[in-house]
């Protein structure tokens, strides 16, 4: 049984405790650094704590929004959840398959066709071949690229690439869907459909973790919001409470 929480028998999808990540700052390697090392003048490595002591629980079927300014740790948190980055402190438990859409159009090979890229990208997420084949038409239809799937992606417009990328994420089954600032690159009509699709994932009971700089999108999609600041959770709670507070602080900071 996936972890039970004190608040009631709600199955947990993601639980982080004391999660932290340090990065090294500056250029990691160049001739000057090599020379200083050889001369035994070892520079003290400057570290940057991108995340520190993050405690967070996302329940199954919940839609959570992450808000925070650039550098607040949103993307690092999502990268750890997606399994691309290993944390330096703490622990995170993830229950179920994750569908990470951390960047739109990344991971497509320009020389391969749309169809080949869908197969490649979906396989890289561990999706079995039969599922990829059975969902190919759905991916094509959602992206509205019926006539272009056998064209190399390098001949796609950026909008077509984004639509395909988004469509791949939406049309394969997972328990936890991650969207990191992905709606910024698609045009109005497709953006609306994506928002609808994300909301319908949520209605189907899948867990959604959503990052956007547009407060209205967060308000539209998320029932709960986690506000990150300087790598830590500043506050969390129902969207209606946290989002206005965040927006207020944000506006004040900018005025």
């Amino acid at each position: 049984m996936a972890g039970l929480d004190g608040n009631g028998p709600r199955p947990v999808a993601v639980a982080a405790s004391g999660l932290g990540k340090d990065f090294r700052l500056g250029e990691h390697r160049n001739l000057r650094i090599t020379a200083r090392r050889l001369l035994r003048r070892r520079d003290e490595l400057a570290m940057f704590r991108a995340l520190s002591g993050v405690n967070l629980t996302a329940y199954r079927g919940e839609s959570i929004g992450l808000v925070g300014t650039n550098g607040s740790g949103k993307s690092t948190l999502l990268q750890i959840l997606a399994g691309t980055v290993v944390p330096t402190h703490g622990m995170m438990r993830v229950y179920g398959r994750v569908m990470p859409l951390l960047a739109v159009g990344q991971g497509f090979h320009p020389e391969l066709t749309g169809r080949e890229n869908v197969t490649l990208f979906a396989s890289s997420l561990g999706i079995p071949r039969q599922v990829i084949e059975s969902q190919m038409d759905a991916v094509t239809a959602f992206a509205e690229l019926e006539r272009h799937m056998d064209t190399p992606v390098k001949r796609f417009s950026s909008g077509m690439t984004s639509r395909l990328s988004f469509s791949v994420a939406m049309q394969f089954p997972a328990d936890i869907y991650i969207f990191d600032e992905v709606l910024a690159v698609v045009d109005g009509e497709f953006q609306e459909r994506c928002l609808e699709a994300i909301k319908s994932l949520h209605r189907e009971g899948r867990t959604v973790v959503f990052v956007s700089h547009h407060a209205d999108q967060v308000a539209d999609v998320c029932e709960r919001v986690v506000w990150l600041e300087n790598g830590s959770v500043r506050s969390e709670g129902p969207t209606g409470e946290i989002l206005p507070a965040y927006e207020h602080a944000h506006d004040v900071a900018h005025d």
Binding site: M92, A103, G205
Partner: protein
Amino acid sequence: MNPQQDATLASPALPALVSPVERVIVPTKRRVRVRDLIREAPVIRVLAGRDFKVKYKQSSLGPLWLVFQPLALLAGFFVAFRGLANVSTEGVPYASFALVGLSAWAFFQASLTIGTASVITNSAFVRFTPCPRPAFPVASIIASLPSFAVTAAGAIVVAAASGVLSPRVVLLPLGLVWLVALTAGIVGIVSALAVRYRDIISALPFLLQVGIFLAPVGYSIAQLSPPTRAIVELNPLTGVIEAWRWMMLSGYEVSATPIVISLVETVLLVFAGWWVFSRLETTMADDI
């Protein structure tokens, strides 16, 4: 708030899920396991297919380049080793002699050329997807097998035509396993190190250029002076190439020394390759 939390998550659009698996993410120095490689076979296959396909996309001759490359090298060898240096080949026709060396070399070179940069060229996958990272170098090695197949087939045909094909050629699959293991060890080390130290990318082309002369691809080690021979015998490829010649060419004599050296080096390199790659794998997204 969540009307549906039961197991019936299936929708018309999305296939049903099996029950969720738990994944625990903690700070670790090493997280990939050897057994993961077997589970990852499907993605390795797709990546290998891509590595092979993109090599010849928008190329009018396509995979025919697989034939031209070893032919050009063979022509060069004829001029340099046969014409100028007049190397002896222990009675084997030079074309057969050189083609065996070239078939091992073609695979090694192709694997290293794609393999060394395999993690870097897949940086989008490394940064944005949980794609298992060992799949990248392994796929590049598999994508290089056609280079071997074409040259080895040529070597066998030429040897048979000149009547020097040995029945020991049935052992060649073992020879291939040996070469693949050796190559995989080296590619594992350099592909992981290249993520941190891009120096490797700069060093590779010239190391390969030097390497073809430090391995008995176009000449025979029997001709070398003892100190030179000792150096060439340290090259892990030397034993493989010598063993391949013994397998494919009748009447070819080999000594045990380079073979034993190469076998030991292969075992060490396979372990080192996995050790280095799995250790650096956890920081690849940070370093790339």
